[in-house]
């Protein structure tokens, strides 16, 4: 069993519901977002906007697991890569090692509260009790493993039963996100990947991500033009996340 996700780029309507659902599910601090949404315009005079909903790729060969000096970043048998915050020492080696830049170090400035200087809302107070985020540690998407585990314990099937399915998948109104078992050839995710040419981001890294994308204009560009990619002037580097 290996949990995976398929993101249908043609269906995403950029409503940010997945990001909001994750924030609510995990009581995320304001300065942090596990999934991220990016709209990209290509096509020059006749631009096409494509959207990428990205999150931790739950790589089969996860560089973050390899480099973690404490064993805080772990990979479960079902393929989910997660961070034990009680073990994380905050060295940020995993943040550096992730080629997809999908890890975030939770520093104090990322957890100032929803209304800085005005105390915590009741929602935030509840969140501190239910899902404590530790400042000084690294975080990332964990495929809502708490929901999966709780659902499986009840005999539910992740990807089919809402109670056992990641919050972002449940909330997506356009059904752009599909969740399921990549090892099951009859699962919806396997069918989509097979029938609609699902592709991973940067397969050349050898990380074998568990998240696939289908039908993206960018995907087509990516596969056709990566080899011809030209070097630009230094100016583009330096973006601070």
């Amino acid at each position: 069993m290996r949990w995976g996700m398929v993101v249908d780029l043609t269906r995403c309507i950029r409503c940010y519901a997945c990001i909001a659902a994750c924030r609510i599910e995990h009581f995320l601090p304001m300065g942090m977002s596990w999934p991220r949404l990016m709209a990209l315009e290509t096509g020059g005079d006749n631009p096409t906007v494509s959207t990428y909903s990205v999150r931790c790729n739950q790589c089969r060969e996860a560089p973050c697991v390899e480099v973690c000096p404490t064993g805080a970043t772990q990979k479960r048998e079902d393929g989910i890569v997660w961070v034990d915050q009680d073990m994380c020492v905050g060295c940020r080696y995993c943040v550096i090692a992730c080629p997809y830049q999908n890890r975030t170090f939770l520093s104090k400035d990322k957890d100032k509260g929803f209304f800085p200087g005005n105390g915590l809302t009741d929602f935030e107070k509840a969140g501190k009790k239910l899902y404590a985020h530790q400042i000084g540690t690294t975080e990332k998407c964990n495929f809502c493993m708490e929901r999966i585990d709780a659902g499986l314990a009840k005999g539910l099937k992740p990807g089919i039963d809402r109670e056992a399915t990641p919050a972002c998948v449940n909330t997506c109104p356009a059904r752009a996100l599909t969740f399921g078992d990549l090892d099951d050839p009859d699962s919806e995710v396997s069918r989509l990947i097979r029938q609609r040419n699902g592709f991973q981001l940067h397969p050349e890294y050898g990380t074998d991500p568990s998240i696939y994308f289908i039908d993206g204009k960018i995907g087509a560009l990516y596969t056709q033009e990566t080899e011809q990619e030209s070097v630009r002037e230094p100016a583009p580097t330096g973006a601070v996340r």
């Binding site: 990205v54 064993g71 020492v89």
Partner: protein
């Protein structure tokens, strides 16, 4: 709508060089310098040099690295994965050096020439070399940053550390320490030349490795990192110390002030080298768009 630049553009790593990352930069350099000085001091059998290198590693390197951690009180956990993590190995090397080095210093002071002293010199020497070299492996194993994927990086870092060690040993010699200043100067002279060649080969290799590596090199020599590269590494780290070293070789007598200036420049060059390597490390765009935005 927010566009995340890291998805469509080359982005440099920030965690290990910006803001608190500067502490890690100091820690990485101190590890190389302390390890290099210890090895040089072993060669000269300079107790002062060994003591100073022990202080650099135990206090500056160890302290700065602990200070950088998000949860420093859990530092003891950084030992559990030496089989795959160079950071874990590095922490073990530092811990062992602090222990071996302390015992060696005690033995060298009170029981010099004994078998125990020699044994602990060997053990501390091995761990000092490991400390000087491991930061290169920490970076070189990060596949996500092509600029760092070079087997030259550990060699460059360790030679840079030894160069700094020779420089500090000159200062120790000037203060009456047990160091042959002529040999220390000759060591510096050759290592500056070797390091200059290694830096050139490293940049050439990175520029030819892949597009992102070339981007990092361009950032280094023509982008925002250029002033530190040209002034810090090339002028202060190579040209000035080399000029002083050769004037010392030909004139035979160089003032202490000039020697100290040369050593200071070597240290600045070493710091600049680590800074530029960390600063220029860039990731490929998540979504590789060939010619954004006009594609």
């Amino acid at each position: 709508m927010e566009t995340h630049e890291w998805m469509i553009q080359y982005t440099r790593q920030t965690e290990w060089i910006d803001r608190r990352g500067l502490i890690l930069w100091i820690a990485f350099y101190a590890g190389g310098l302390g390890g290099g000085l210890y090895l040089v001091s072993l060669y000269f059998n300079s107790l002062w040099g060994m003591f100073i290198s022990w202080l650099i590693i135990a206090v500056l390197k160890g302290g700065a690295h602990l200070l950088y951690l998000g949860k420093p009180q859990r530092f003891w956990r950084i030992v559990s994965r030496p089989q795959s993590s160079w950071l874990a190995r590095g922490f073990i090397f530092v811990t062992l050096f602090i222990v071996f080095g302390a015992i060696q210093l005690i033995l060298s002071f009170w029981l010099p020439g004994t078998a125990g002293e020699i044994a602990f010199k060997v053990l501390a020497g091995i761990t000092a070399l490991a400390i000087a070299i491991y930061t290169g492996f920490v970076l070189n194993t990060v596949k996500a940053v092509p600029f760092w994927n070079s087997s030259l990086l550990p060699l460059l870092f360790v030679l840079c550390g030894i160069l700094g060690g020779f420089g500090l040993s000159v200062i120790i010699a000037l203060n009456g320490g047990h160091v042959n200043i002529t040999v220390a100067e000759a060591g510096s002279r050759w290592l500056i030349i070797v390091n200059a060649f290694l830096i050139a080969i490293y940049l050439w290799g990175a520029a030819n490795r892949e597009t992102t590596g070339k981007q990092s090199v361009m950032e280094q020599i023509r982008g925002s990192g250029a002033p530190i590269f040209w002034i810090g590494i090339v002028i202060l780290g190579i040209i000035v110390p080399l000029a002083i070293a050769f004037s010392s070789y030909f004139i035979r007598e160089v003032s202490a002030v000039l020697l100290v200036t040369g050593v200071g420049c070597e240290v600045i060059g070493g710091l600049a080298l680590r800074y530029c390597v960390l600063k220029a490390g860039a990731y490929s765009p998540l979504v590789a768009v060939a010619s954004y935005p006009s594609a």
